[in-house]
Symmetry: none
Subunit: 214 residues, 2 copies
DNA sequence: CCACGATTGGACTGATCGTCCAGTCTGGGA
DNA sequence: TCCCAGACTGGACGATCAGTCCAATCGTGG
């Protein structure tokens, strides 16, 4: 296992042994990434799961949730790779001897094989359990209408007379409900809110920036 | 592994090799019981999980569910031991050369260690702080896992050994559940089913063509 | 009538979808 | 053993979609 990164960087030199050790321990299914949080770049990476290398932008959301808390260790939380692999990740702020943040360490573990193993073991000689069947929210459009309609009702005014703040609130709610993980949701929401698609994205960016760093 | 039973009984002599073989295969966590269905007694038992021996009443519900069906093989179904161990059981009606029922074979597998292993694996590196508590986001991946896992269970074979027809059925179910209305669902499903993204679309087209033009 | 922020339509880039195909693998059958 | 047919794969591809950006427009208060 080679270090992929700038060995001349003192941070890489300093933390490399830890990173390599973790990467070795967790085998081929975990990658270890050392980030420069300030520059939002990858300093070094061990056993990469994607094609990122040193110098690439950090991507993912690895550095997003570090600010608000007073802690230095975050996670484990879940991420999703483009090819469908499901990751469990932890992050840690690494500090130099003065206590100043110098880098961010992320460990990303591919859960796919674990999930597979669970399915195998759970299925081994298991009695045929009744199927959960729990159907997916078949009509997410209806959910949009319900959320918007419910909001409109509490304000006592029709959609087209909602103010900017109102639309922001509704958007936040819809986003919270995960509506935008559904394909082609944006145009539907735009129509439901009686605004253009552009405005939907504009307002959405606002709610995500200030409103809820969940 | 000794036969515990009346070796002079021709039924025991005849079936003992099968029973011992199964008992050996499934190790210390499965017992094999040969019943005299008419007398409701244990004819012989290998690797007992309880203290039953030959001649004891059959107890359990091992012979209860044999009547109604025209089949000769039953289960797997679940039973519960007094000490809390959970068993997965199968039963088979054994017939003499004339086709007359002569005995009932039951295999009882202690699932406790398997359940524990599942719990360990499922909990290993599991994200403990799911970010958005949304109804959709990141939750639909688990829905995929559940549907696939549930299907695997009914087939009694792991994902990688599913046949073409099996995958078609799972795909139909996932499609029915609306999974593919979610963005980037296809790669996740492909991973879960251990096939390529191409094959997902190919099979999907098949199910949609023949099955339900929803 | 003007200033100004909000909104809009549309252009644009990159990501994702779904299709297609040549090459590979696999499990019989001659 | 060799060959064949069907299934699967990885990659490429065009079409569509997501999200950003901006100049033009709208609406409102001064």
């Amino acid at each position: 296992m080679e270090t992929v990164g700038d060995e001349s960087d003192p941070r890489v030199r300093g933390w490399a042994p830890v990173c390599r050790a973790v990467a070795l321990l967790l085998g081929p299914y975990a990658e270890v990434v050392l980030h420069d949080a300030a520059a939002d770049r990858v300093l070094a990476i061990w056993n990469p799961l994607t094609r990122r290398t040193a110098g690439d932008p950090s991507l993912l959301g690895e550095l997003d949730q570090l600010e608000p808390a007073a802690r230095d260790v975050f996670g484990p939380y879940e991420k999703l790779l483009a090819d469908g692999r499901r990751l469990t990740s932890v992050s840690a702020v690494l500090r130099d001897p003065d206590g100043q943040p110098s880098a961010v360490l992320c460990v990303n573990l591919d859960r796919t094989p674990l999930d597979q193993a669970v399915a195998v073991l759970a299925g081994f000689a298991a009695p045929s359990t009744p199927r959960p069947a729990a159907l997916f929210e078949q009509d997410w459009t209806e959910r949009v209408q319900r959320i918007v309609g419910s909001f409109v009702r509490t304000r006592g005014r029709p959609v087209e007379r909602l103010g900017r703040a109102d639309r922001l609130a509704v958007l936040a709610e819809l986003d919270q409900a995960g509506i935008f993980t559904v394909r082609r949701a944006a145009p539907v929401v735009a129509q439901a809110l009686q605004v253009s698609r552009s405005t939907v994205y504009a307002l959405l960016a606002e709610t995500r920036a200030e409103g809820v760093p969940a």
